[in-house]
Symmetry: C2
Subunit: 124 residues, 2 copies
DNA sequence: CTAACATATGAGCAATCATTCATATGTTCA
DNA sequence: TGAACATATGAATGATTGCTCATATGTTAG
C-alpha cells in the first residue's frame, strides 16, 4: 500500500519497461475522463439484452410499444422504461399517432455498429 | 394488465399498423436471445470509464499493471479487477516477465471500434 | 530461507440497474 | 362525460457492479 510513492521515482525504469517520460507520453495520448465517460455511456446503452433486442426489432421497421411487448414477450412497463433510456441516449425516437406511440431508430450509424458487432461475436 | 390477451387477436391490425403476420416476420428476423446476450456482454465490457481508459492506454502500447495504476491514478486492486474482466472477455491478454505482468490488447478490431465510437461521440 | 515486491483475489459495501406493481397521463369512441 | 385503451412513470426490490481492504500467490534478491 505504501509502495506507491517510491515506485514513481526510479523503480519504474527498472521493473517496467519505459521511463517516466514514456508514461507521460502515453498519458498525453490517452482519452480524457469526460470522453471516457461519454464513450462508456454509449456502450452502456447497448449493454443489456432487452435493449439489444429492441434495437434489433427497430432495425427492421418502426414499431409501437405494444408490438414490442409482444415481440419481446415482456411487460409493457419494462419495455417502456427501456425505451425511455434508449430515447435519452438518442438511439431511438418516437412518433405519436393517436393513442399509439411508434418508435424508430434515431441514429444512422446503429445498423453498421450492430452488424459489425454481430459479426465480431459471430465467430466464437 | 389483462389487456394483453385481447390485443393479440384483432386489435393489433387496427391500432398498430401491420398484421400479426408482419409481426411474426419481424420476430423471424430478430436477433435470437443468445446472440442478444453475447452482444450485450460485449458492449458491457466497454460500458465503464475505467475499462475505457485502460483500453485507451493499451491502444498505444503494452503496459504493466503498475504503470496502469499510475496512468489511471487508481488503486492496484481496482485496476487488477478490471483487467481480469477484460481478460475474461478476451479483450486483453497478459505476458509475464519476472514479477511483472504486461497487458496488451487481444483483439485486432478494438482500435477500429474505438475510433469509430469516439468519432460518433465526438460531434455532440 | 527471508524480505521486498508485483499482481491476484475474496469479502464487504455502496451505488446502479432491470424489472414489477400500482397508478398517472393522454387519447379515442360512444 | 365516462369507459376502454396505449403509454409513461414513481416506488420498491432483487441482482449486478466497481471499488476498497485485507490477504494470498508468485517472483526475485540477498
Amino acid at each position: 500500500m505504501a509502495q506507491r510513492q517510491p515506485m514513481m521515482t526510479e523503480d519504474c525504469e527498472t521493473t517496467c519497461f519505459g521511463t517516466e517520460q514514456d508514461l507521460a507520453c502515453v498519458k498525453e495520448e490517452m482519452i480524457d475522463d469526460q470522453a471516457a465517460a461519454s464513450m462508456a455511456d454509449w456502450f452502456k446503452a447497448f449493454s443489456d439484452p432487452t435493449r439489444i433486442r429492441i434495437v434489433s426489432a427497430l432495425l427492421q421497421r418502426e414499431l409501437c410499444v405494444h408490438d414490442l411487448t409482444v415481440l419481446l414477450d415482456m411487460g409493457q412497463s419494462a419495455v417502456s422504461h427501456q425505451l425511455r433510456s434508449l430515447r435519452n441516449m438518442r438511439i431511438v425516437k418516437r412518433r405519436k399517432q393517436g393513442k399509439t406511440v411508434f418508435y424508430s431508430l434515431d441514429d444512422a450509424h446503429i445498423e453498421q455498429i450492430f452488424l459489425q458487432t454481430l459479426q465480431h461475436i459471430g465467430h466464437e
